[in-house]
């Protein structure tokens, strides 16, 4: 095996494992979870190992089937995609490993289907990360989304309905993106990202503009960029908690990555089009920070609160992307990692709260008080990181994005950012108060979640601390090399 196959392996391993898991689970009951875990462990090792490889040896390009672009499909691993792939694979491994017992309890009899869908979704998400081709990106988005719809709909109560809404809105987003790709193809005659970027300057600007707006809007739906976020709160609040805790940290984050990839590696050619697109994203991001924060403040359902929190945090990412300078982009990339880790820990804790303590409402979190100290501590770390308390990871994402808005003197964006941050204080406090200070009620004798869930939750919280404390090294060694050429 040569390293040139590495990019393709990243999504082929979970894809093949999905088929094996379904077959294996059908033959030997309960084998699917071990197949999934093994496949994710292999993927995580490959993804993490690829980061230093790419940083020292340069980007890896692979032509699938041996056909050279522009005819063939290209996948590529550069510092940005390698970093995001490593993040996705590690977080997925932690969460799938941490929720094995919960899957058995929450989805009895559906285990095989669950792990098949999970592996398929990860294959799609990693496919998005390494896509070097606009149409291949669409295909991978659909692979990831279709499995995500299934993961949402597999729950009880309102889950099928939430899954259906997600399907309609998500498919709409994918279609809008695809329509945009059509315009770009019409304008440039190619679908390979690098080729499109090279030909944009000579292309019909109005076709490029329409194509760009449609693509950004389509990806905006997928990353739940306000006001296109409407599918997310219901999907994460009503789906099985094991589905939500896997999807919430990953799906919108990978879509944000796709947004960065398209905006800077396809439209980053210095045309007037990319300025319009970037301003759209920046304004939407600023609005998302305020709206997400305020909506989260108003929720009574725990997972809805966390979902709206993600609307706000994806706004931080979008704001950093939209201001499009070095600090802004550094913050955006960092905050993709931050929100993946924070939401991983928080949704795992929400799963423990639901399955062990029967907590759906924020105010019922007091049932965990004194009985789940480690889970509560993980929530506190992730929550304080959301507020942006130094030296936790979330602080640095916000610090760089804030610097990004200030560097170009965009005061309105700075102001919106501050207002939204204040709302964050409010909704995090609504989690902290019952967990640590309100008199405990009910559920005597119940302690903590399952050991794997606890370990995964604690490791994610630990990573939140570590990427904050190690920020200087992470930025200089990984994030800065991953930025688009003009912004390093």
């Amino acid at each position: 095996m040569t390293t040139s196959n590495l990019p393709a392996l990243l999504f082929m391993v979970p894809f093949m494992a999905a088929l094996i898991a379904v077959a294996g689970g059908w033959l030997v009951a309960g084998s699917a979870r071990w197949i999934a875990l093994a496949a994710l462990a292999v993927t995580a090792v490959l993804a993490v190992a690829s980061v230093p490889l790419v940083l020292t040896g340069g980007p890896l390009h692979t032509q699938l089937g041996g056909w050279a672009p522009p005819i063939g499909i290209e996948v590529l691993l550069d510092p940005l995609s390698a970093g995001v792939a490593a993040l996705v694979a590690v977080v997925a491994l932690l969460i799938v490993g941490g929720s094995m017992r919960e899957v058995r309890e929450e989805l009895p009899g559906q285990e095989t289907v669950y792990y098949g869908s999970v592996l398929l979704m990860l294959s799609g998400l990693l496919g998005i990360v390494i896509a070097g081709d606009l149409f291949n990106l669409f295909v991978q988005i659909e692979v990831a989304s279709l499995s995500a719809y299934a993961l949402v709909a597999s729950g009880g109560r309102g889950a099928p309905r939430a899954g259906f809404t997600y399907l309609i809105i998500g498919s709409f987003g994918a279609s809008v993106y695809l329509a945009g790709v059509g315009f770009i193809y019409a304008a440039t005659g190619t679908l390979n990202m690098a080729d499109v970027a090279a030909r944009l300057a000579a292309a019909d600007p109005s076709l490029v503009m329409v194509g760009g707006v449609l693509m950004v809007a389509g990806l905006g739906v997928k990353m739940a960029l306000f006001p296109l976020h409407t599918w997310m709160p219901a999907a994460y609040a009503l789906s099985p908690s094991v589905s939500a805790s896997l999807m919430a940290p990953l799906v919108t984050k990978v879509s944000a990555y796709a947004m960065i990839r398209v905006l800077f590696w396809v439209f980053g050619g210095g045309t007037s089009v990319d300025r319009v697109l970037l301003d759209m994203v920046a304004v939407a991001g600023a609005a998302a920070i305020v709206a997400g924060g305020v909506m989260a403040l108003l929720q009574t359902d725990l997972r809805r609160l966390l979902a709206y929190s993600s609307v706000g945090q994806m706004g931080v990412v979008a704001l950093g992307v939209g201001v499009a300078n070095a600090p802004g982009m550094t913050g955006a990339v960092l905050h993709i990692a931050n929100d993946a880790l924070m939401k991983g820990a928080l949704f795992l804790a929400a799963g423990t709260a639901l399955l062990r303590f029967g907590v759906r409402e924020v105010s019922d979190l007091s049932r965990l008080r004194g009985r789940a100290p480690w889970t509560s501590a993980a929530v506190a770390v992730a929550g304080l990181s959301l507020i942006g308390i130094p030296p936790l990871g979330g602080f640095f994402g916000k610090w760089y994005v804030l610097n990004g808005t200030l560097a170009d003197g965009r005061w309105a964006l700075t102001a919106a950012f501050m207002v939204g941050s204040l709302a964050t204080v409010g909704y995090v406090l609504r989690l902290i108060e019952p967990l640590f200070f309100t008199a405990a009620s009910g559920n005597e004798g119940q302690r903590e979640g399952s050991a794997p869930a606890l370990v995964a939750c604690a490791l994610l919280a630990l990573l939140v601390i570590l990427i904050g404390v190690g920020n200087e090294r992470i930025v200089t060694l990984i994030v800065t090399p991953a930025l688009p050429g003009g912004l390093r």
């Binding site: 304080l384 507020i387 942006g388 308390i389 130094p390 030296p391 640095f396 610090w399 760089y400 804030l402 610097n403 200030l406 560097a407 700075t414 501050m418 941050s421 204040l422 204080v425 409010g426 406090l429 108060e433 640590f436 200070f437 309100t438 008199a439 404390v469 920020n471 200087e472 090294r473 930025v475 200089t476």
Partner: protein, 501 residues
Amino acid sequence: MTLDPGTLGGVALGAPFLAALLILITPARLAEWWGYLAAGVAVTATALMLPSVRAGEPVTLTLLPLTEGLDLRLDVDALGLTFALLASGLWVVTSVYSSGYVRATDLAHRPRFFAAFAASIGAALGVALAGNLLTFFLFYELLTLATYPLVVHKETEKSFAAGRRYLAFSLGGGLALLTAVAWTWQIAGTLDFTPGGFLHLHASGATLTALFVLYVAGVAVKSAVMPLHAWLPAAMVAPTPVSALLHAVAVVKAGIFGTLRVLGFVFGPASLAGFSGAHVLAGLAMVTIVAGSLIALRQDNLKRRLAYSTVVHLSYMVLGAALVAPLAMVGSVMHMVNHGLAKITLFFCAGAIYAATHRENISELGGLGRQMPWTFGAFTVASLALVGLPGLSGFVGKFFLARGAIGNGDLVAFGVMLGTSLLTAAYLLPIVRIAYFPGASAARESGARAHAYAEAPAAMVVPLVATAVLVVLFGMFPGVMNVQFDLAADVAARIFGSAVP
């Protein structure tokens, strides 16, 4: 073995945080002992830095690189050391007092209480020793967070309301501060505290004004300048050791300290001369002084009256900084310490009265003066110090503040200062009078509930007598006063670039 003075700073800072961790993970009965140990280590390490700082040697320590070109870094100067000595020294006394208080009032959740207390002191020391704005901001936010569990300690609806208000004000101010710090980083490319300031080299006009508003909003919350003061009286719902050390000394003085740092080491006289920001701040401080005094007069709850008195005296120090005059700066730094000594004594007394009698209102104190002689003796000394009686600690700082105001030709400020002393007398001395000379009606009322009260436990009375003795020492003992004055004068001399007359 000799320790590098910078390492001493790290030890002083690390001890309380380590203690907080140990308190949480070791058996509950060890909690206070970790506190004692850490307090001893912190105050010793801080005191050992004194010779180096007085000699003008650099005392620095880089803890951790935060971002490219920005480190988590300690840089100890005369101002920082003054605040660090105040916080760590009084922590020793408060530790003893807390041990008595938690027993006398049968306080619940003791490990959490002692851990949060230690972490708060650690954060205050971080604020004091911070060498740049980002380090300062980090510990300033940690200070807010670490004190929150103490504010909501009683877990009643009232304490949660106070806690929410506290966080909303403090973290809101923190956001303004963060914005100002990031903006400074963008335009100046440095965040290191520089005596005399550095912003005048990089900004002017509207930018400077906007930065001033953001910075002042950030630090004025903790220094309780109106209209950002409302959290402080509400926070009095916390157990009394918290009100005493944190909400009369460490937290609020972090706001004063921040004001001095921002005005003297970020803006500097050169920037402040160019626009009216300092005048507006001085105006706000004077309004706070007068309005706060009038509100204090109307409070019957003892801790609330003391809280408004704190609001008033904090603005006194803000005023001293905002006058941008060397002598006023000296007065501000000295009053930061002297007010701290007197006010912690008053709160210690309030807590001792509550522990012994369960009385919280001034109108109920009739006749207690003779039953609790040590407590009310200390209370009287501290009250007179705050009024500004010569020979007690409060006088010295006020004296320099007044000289600074006159030197500036600012007679309004001088008038406000004089008036405040009278108002301070008007809201503190009646408490003493009621305690010793209850008068006929109050005596009958107390008589109806005839009850012989005794002093609170020795663990509470000894600390409050000790701080009262400090109030006297800092008012008339030249050895102590000279060290204190030298440090304050050094601060002013560095900021203004000339020796203080």
